[in-house]
Amino acid sequence: MITIEHYLVISAILLSLGLFAVMTKRNGIAVLMGIELILNAANINLVAFSHFSTRFLSGQIFAIFVIILAAAEAAIVLAIILAMYANRQVVDIDLADTMKG
């Protein structure tokens, strides 16, 4: 019997892994991969709650919007990283501190 806890545990593990990648990676693309893991964890939660806790498909619709946002975000992040690489020859986000943000 598959229960909602199965899904929540998988999603929690993926979220922690993504968080770890975002906190520790230096390469901007590796950080982007961490963000994708986090978004996937959120999607698993949405779909699981939609199935186990409601009789509607709203969770799946939300997951579709999350996927759309992830696609837009990946395109923008890669464009920024490529622009940074073209100007500074690095993809290390620690070195992108000219603006002291």
Partner: protein, 164 residues
């Protein structure tokens, strides 16, 4: 039904292990390919909660779109990374500590909460329902999302353009 459970566990293990490899492998090209496996595993998990359309979307968009973009990014920025011998990661122990703490917190929440249960929808194709919902209840978010994608497209092309 027994076989179904084992398949579910297979996909769950696939997702978690490849997700861990994405994070812990030092070579970013291997990480990108492991991400491929993770996305497939998540698509498999969607099947088990009756989200067939979403599983197909996951494979098409994540594996076919986002992952290809990421691999492009890795390949286009790789030359200098080979020369540079910087540490690939920082704050390793702090990050590990915080992530494990966060995981324990989340697992505590998962197992100590009484989740609402409802009778699930009978398994069946969801594509038609999703299409109708997107064109009725969720029409405004749908249009906003398409505007956002257009903006992201133009913006990404602007940023990545060579020259001035």
């Amino acid at each position: 039904m027994e076989l179904g459970i084992w398949t579910f566990y297979f996909f769950a293990l696939l997702t978690v292990v490849s997700g861990a490899l994405v994070v812990f492998l030092r070579n970013i090209v291997y990480s990108a390919f492991m991400l491929f496996v993770t996305f497939f595993g998540v698509a498999g998990l969607y099947i088990f909660v009756g989200a067939d359309f979403l599983a197909a979307t996951q494979v098409l968009l994540y594996v076919g779109g986002i992952l290809v973009l990421i691999i492009f990014g890795v390949m286009l920025t790789r030359k200098v990374m080979d020369v540079k011998v910087r540490e690939a990661r920082i704050n390793f122990s702090h990050g590990l500590f915080l992530s494990v703490l966060f995981l324990i917190l989340l697992l505590g929440i998962v197992f100590n909460t009484e989740w609402t249960k409802a009778d699930s929808l009978p398994p069946g194709p969801t594509t038609e329902t999703i299409g109708i919902l997107l064109m009725t209840d969720y029409l405004l978010p749908f249009e906003v999302a398409s505007l956002l994608l257009l903006g992201a497209l133009v913006g990404a092309a602007m940023l990545a353009r060579k020259g001035d």
